[in-house]
Symmetry: C2
Amino acid sequence: MAKKENKVTEQVLLRLSSYLSALDQVQQEGKHVVSSMDMSKFTGYSAALIRRDLSYFGEFGVPGKGYYLASLKSQICGILNLNSQHRVLLAGAGNLGSALTGYEGLRKKGFHIVGLFDNDPLKVGRQIWNTEVYPINEMEEQNKELKAEMGIITVPAAASQEVADRMVDAGLRCILNFAPTAVQVPEHIKVRNVDLAKQLEFLAYFLSLKE
Amino acid sequence: MAKKENKVTEQVLLRLSSYLSALDQVQQEGKHVVSSMDMSKFTGYSAALIRRDLSYFGEFGVPGKGYYLASLKSQICGILNLNSQHRVLLAGAGNLGSALTGYEGLRKKGFHIVGLFDNDPLKVGRQIWNTEVYPINEMEEQNKELKAEMGIITVPAAASQEVADRMVDAGLRCILNFAPTAVQVPEHIKVRNVDLAKQLEFLAYFLSLKE
DNA sequence: AAATGTGAAGCAATTCACAGCA
DNA sequence: TGCTGTGAATTGCTTCACATTT
């Protein structure tokens, strides 16, 4: 399942995820075969780019016809490793952390937040959205039971590095970091930073254009 | 303030935002002058790239010396249009929406959520984090008073297009969309999509590598 | 001496355009 | 005919390397 192909760029992986969404949308129209042009409509990426992306992983299409929707979907899921459920730890049971824990969208896509971690004594020992809150220093210990492989960081910037270290110790192999500072982790751990303020800063630029 | 330069790519804008964070970090070390190499340390981008990005907007540095921190910061803020506060409407007063409304990180960077919109009668008329909740169809009317220019969408996918349309009618000029489907807007409106599930799908790929 | 700003080179990503297959 | 898969062309982005400036 795990492709050993030389290197897939991050951009390609993100596009694959978009293609999946597009397929879901096309599926709701009742179609069973989809062309690169159809997908272009839904994703905004050019048909040529879509074909090249897909052909990198194999020949999934039928010339003159298109791609069989169900088959393509399962191929992409295979590439992205979405055929199994994924167990996730979340550190920082504040507003954002709680919101993500209760977010249907993640669960529906197969991501289950199985343990919360926070140092606030008012939160430790309680449950949020039916998920237990543990102290952060118990992460390694608790994950022997919880067996998660992914982590989400929603603590304030000052605590994010400490939390990332605990996640690495706990054996997590990839981390989604919402804190506004990048964290340092060993080579073999994959981190993705999502800085919400940065998204708005990006947009603010456009307010200064024309008019 | 608004540069009319031919075209800045989105990547450059996002990096500028990272440079700003780096400058904040350097500032805490008490330095007043910073080199492209210093910034490289904090951002992970190469010094050459940083110099090229900055030189695109002007000659901000002093050869042999570096960049004056305060001055560079204010230049970048000027480019990104961050010298003034920004007023933001948020539609979808659910978990994620409430969390963002209460999020210190946004306020500290000058983004103020001044009005919430939701169609749930249990929420309309109440306040969340001291911010009033209005019905979505009142957005245009309310924004005559609220005078926001930016919008955040945290409603479910099915409602996101409708909400985007209302935001356009209300005169908002850029939109941060957390719904997992892209929305259609007129040419002159800038949308940025942040699909949280997509971030985890991206990371899941790396779980399938090496072992 | 040290670091900027920038042509030119090098590399990566995307599109073009079409041969080949259903 | 219609659409895939892919070499070749193109476009765009990043790095190199150095003349220039303080």
